[in-house]
């Protein structure tokens, strides 16, 4: 990742001592050493974690550290990653979104429907646009009706999923085979799958927006202290709605990629749709973004998602059973989240 800047966080990795207490006589001498404080462990432990896992798989499986395999991990996790990076915005602003998978499924189905009935070109605006509209609905439920985000998106997710099944009558919508349509999901540029490129570009853009724009800063503020954000002149509701719309549109994009890979639109909750919300949020949490809002970063989410992907990939390579993968994932998430509490309690 580029620019792992986290303007909101206090700690700095640089070995430059904080200007200590002005009058504390020996602060200068003591501060010159690079001290690893508990805050550093909490804020940057994830990087060490990811590196350790990476090294372990490199040693344990000879085929792990190959260009193709690494690209493969990114490719396989592109759709999850896109949803996860976007929902990081929602979570940093202090909300939650459980409807990712259903938005993904319904936008994919609507896109496929549009491709069948109106022509392939319609697929692109319809998937992303319908995702954005679903995000808007979530945002309005949360802000205007003051429904708790957890419940609002759980409920809206059920409905979106239901509509998707209704449109497809529970089956598949096969899209007309057209190179224009399958382009995104089945094409490589410079040896890299387009979807992987989209994921990485989107992640970089979202991270830059978060770290270096007024909008990004506002997200941290709203998530950290809503009242203070409002009294500082922010239109808090509007910002919250925007995060949901961005997340919805990103899920639509993920749906577009998925249906482009398979050349169809499916409403099935068996596949990715059923797991998307949980996997994406797991990636966000593993990366160290606080689910209470106000703290986090998109680069963290990328690391989190890729770590989860790395576990699947690496364990497959060394032929460890599926259930072990889930056990390890669960443990990692617990450790990642618990570190914060342990450090704060000191």
């Amino acid at each position: 990742m580029t620019a792992p800047t986290d303007p909101a966080a206090s700690g700095s990795l640089a070995p430059v001592p904080e200007p200590g207490h002005p009058a504390a006589g020996d602060a200068g001498a003591a501060g010159l050493r690079l001290r690893v404080t508990p805050q550093h462990v909490r804020d940057y432990g994830i990087i060490v974690f990811a590196a350790a896992l990476f090294i372990y798989f490199t040693v344990a499986a000879s085929t792990f550290l190959t260009w193709d395999n690494l690209l493969n991990i990114v490719y396989q996790n592109a759709t999850i990653g896109i949803a996860a990076c976007a929902v990081t915005f929602t979570i940093i602003a202090g909300n939650f979104d459980l409807s990712l998978g259903s938005i993904f499924a319904l936008s994919e189905v609507l896109g496929a429907w549009a491709a069948v009935h109106w022509g392939v070109a319609w697929c692109f605006p319809v998937t992303i646009g319908s995702g954005a509209v679903m995000g808007l609905i979530n945002g309005l439920l949360v802000t205007k009706l003051r429904v708790n985000a957890f419940l609002a998106t759980l409920a809206s997710g059920l409905s979106f999923g239901g509509i998707a099944v209704g449109v497809t009558h529970g089956g598949l919508l096969i899209t007309p085979s057209s190179s224009a349509f399958t382009f995104i999901g089945q094409h490589k540029a410079g040896g890299i799958w387009d979807s992987a490129i989209i994921f990485i570009v989107l992640a970089v853009v979202l991270q830059l927006v978060l770290a270096y724009t007024v909008f990004g800063r506002h997200l941290y503020g709203v998530g950290d202290n809503r009242n203070a954000a409002r009294l500082s002149g922010l239109k808090v509701d509007r910002i919250v709605i925007q995060t949901f719309v961005i997340t919805g549109a990103a899920c639509g994009l993920a749906g577009l990629i998925d249906s482009s890979m398979t050349g169809s639109g499916t409403s099935s909750q068996e596949g990715l749709a059923g797991q998307l919300a949980l996997l994406a949020i797991a990636g966000v949490a593993l990366g160290g973004t606080s689910i209470f809002g106000g703290v986090g970063a998109v680069w963290r989410t990328v690391l989190g998602v890729l770590m989860l992907g790395m576990i699947t990939n690496g364990f497959d390579l060394i032929a460890v059973a599926d259930y072990w993968q889930n056990i390890v994932r669960g443990i990692l998430i617990i450790i990642a989240v618990a570190i914060g509490f342990v450090v704060d309690r000191r």
């Binding site: 700095s12 200007p19 002005p22 009058a23 504390a24 724009t213 503020g221 009242n227 409002r230 500082s232």
Partner: protein
């Protein structure tokens, strides 16, 4: 009061370090049983840190704490509480959705077979309140209370759990003088009954009048511990800062002919504000005095769009503005520094720089809303210098600053905006005497440059010292107006109403 009491709490060579800062460095203090022991020092001197170590909120890196001669190392405030040590922290944090009674008895509810005995709890509460003479509606939800009342609830909670040692971190920073007086009488009673009080305050006159012993801290080091009889305000200030701080005297020009900047008329909010009309001229500082609950904060919030109003008009620079949100008020040129820095003011997880620039990010952003982090840092540094925040580090996390320094950061945010109308609600809450003087100078300078200032403070001296004009509020309306330098007595009388009955 006993002079031969054995030390109830003894701190031996305590050290506590946070990344880059020594909050406490080799501090040894003995707190005798049955005394009031004050801790004084500049913002960031380590008073709260010391209080938290006694109360088991944090653990020292070095040194040993003894309670009643026994070495202890508490794992949590709960541990300390079972040992008879209660803490009332600087940033009050009760359970907001619960009632006062539930808060007071939280964790020590009278139970039978695991079932909480609510009736017994209510009866005990009534007894408790009667015993200590503190009036407070036990059924009120804590979130609906003003800071002073939450303070009372916390004190009741401490005595209800039969604490022997009570650590009070700036308990009076948001109390009016009447309530401070009440609190002090309550502390006297506590002391008479053998309780030990550790009392942190920036009000040196309070410390001298109340405490038996005072410990002065400077930059995390012990300066001295001495009986208050041997100290004066000057000697304490000299100990705290290493030099005497000059007293402030403001010249008050009367800008009677300056144009009216803020014109509020007929403002009403059912049950809260009644027919509020006021005018602020350019360069004028108007103080609002009144008891807690008289509607001062509500007035500030209504004017600045934080709370809705039922009727009334607000005009800025002669134009009637439709103000329905803080954003509208800010667009009209107003700025509001809220009463509670923790609830309504600061972003504790964000950096000092992010906090200061938050209300005016456009000023450090270029096209497309892209922030210039370099510009942000340099603007922040200027403001940190002006407000003397320590450590003056733009990337420090605000939640890690001491209480007074947090308050200065909040003040700096509104300074950056350079508003036409500045509404200040308790602007120097928890700020040490030197920094308070600096903030007063800044307010004065802003006014001299033409800003109209509405100043609310529980500290009547602050209002009288700064304001060109004083409005007195009572039960949601403005009942009196005084022009320059009214006598303190007259203002107090007006605040109480002619009958002299208390509201709070």
């Amino acid at each position: 009061m006993s002079t031969t009491a054995l030390p109830h709490v003894r701190l031996d060579s305590i050290g506590k370090r946070y990344s880059g800062t020594k909050a406490l460095d080799n501090v040894s203090v003995e707190v005798a049983a049955g005394t009031v022991h004050a801790l004084v020092g500049a913002n960031g001197a380590g008073k709260s840190t010391l209080g938290k170590i006694i109360g088991g909120v944090i653990r020292p890196d070095e040194g040993q704490v003894f309670v009643g001669g026994r070495p202890v190392r508490y794992a949590s405030p709960r541990d300390a509480r079972t040992d008879g040590i209660a803490t009332i922290s600087q940033e009050l944090s009760p359970m907001p959705h619960m009632t006062v009674i539930e808060n007071v008895y939280f964790g020590i509810e009278p139970r039978r077979a695991g079932i909480v005995q609510f009736r017994q709890m209510r009866r005990r509460y009534a007894e408790l309140v009667a015993e200590w003479g503190f009036e407070l509606d036990g059924g009120a939800r804590v979130e609906s209370l003003r800071t002073a009342d939450i303070q009372k609830a916390e004190i009741l909670r401490a005595v209800a759990s039969d604490a022997q040692v009570i650590v009070m971190d700036e308990p009076t920073s948001s109390l009016t003088s009447i309530e401070t007086e009440k609190l002090h009488r309550m502390i006297d009673v506590l002391r008479e009954r053998g309780k030990t009080i550790v009392y942190v305050s920036h009000f040196l006159d309070e410390v001298l009048g109340l405490a038996d012993t005072v410990t002065v801290l400077r930059s995390g080091r012990l300066v001295r511990t001495a009986p208050v009889a041997e100290e004066t305000e000057e000697s304490l200030v000299a100990g705290m800062f290493g030099a005497a701080a000059a007293a402030e005297n403001f010249t008050k020009p009367a800008p009677a002919t300056a144009p009216v900047v803020l014109d509020v008329s007929g403002l009403n909010r059912r049950g809260v504000l009644r027919d509020i009309s006021l005018q602020l001229r350019a360069g004028e500082i108007v103080g609002v005095a009144g008891l807690i609950g008289s509607g001062r904060t509500e007035l500030a919030r209504a004017v600045t769009g934080a709370d809705p109003v039922d009727s009334g008009t607000i005009a800025v620079d002669g134009t009637v503005r439709h103000i329905r949100s803080p954003a509208d008020a800010m667009a009209a040129g107003m700025a509001y520094l809220p009463e509670s820095r923790k609830d309504d003011g600061l972003f504790l997880e964000l950096s000092v720089a992010a906090n200061i620039t938050f209300a005016d990010l456009r000023s450090v952003a270029g096209r497309l809303g892209v922030l210039s982090l370099g510009r942000e840092r340099s603007r922040t540094r200027e403001l940190l210098d002006l407000t003397s925040v320590r450590p003056a580090n733009p990337s420090a996390k605000v939640g890690h600053l001491s209480g007074g320094n947090q308050q200065k950061v909040l003040f700096a945010r509104w300074l950056l905006r350079n508003p036409r109308v500045l509404v200040l609600d308790e602007p120097t809450r928890g700020v040490d005497v030197a920094a308070r003087a600096a903030i007063h100078r800044l307010v004065n300078r802003l006014a001299a440059e033409g800003t109209a200032v509405l100043l609310i403070s529980s500290e009547i001296e602050e209002v009288l010292g700064l304001a060109h004009r004083v409005l007195v509020m009572r039960r949601g309306s403005i009942t009196r107006e005084f022009s320059a330098d009214p006598p303190l007595d007259a203002v107090m009388e007006a605040a109480f109403g002619l009958g002299g009955r208390t509201i709070a």
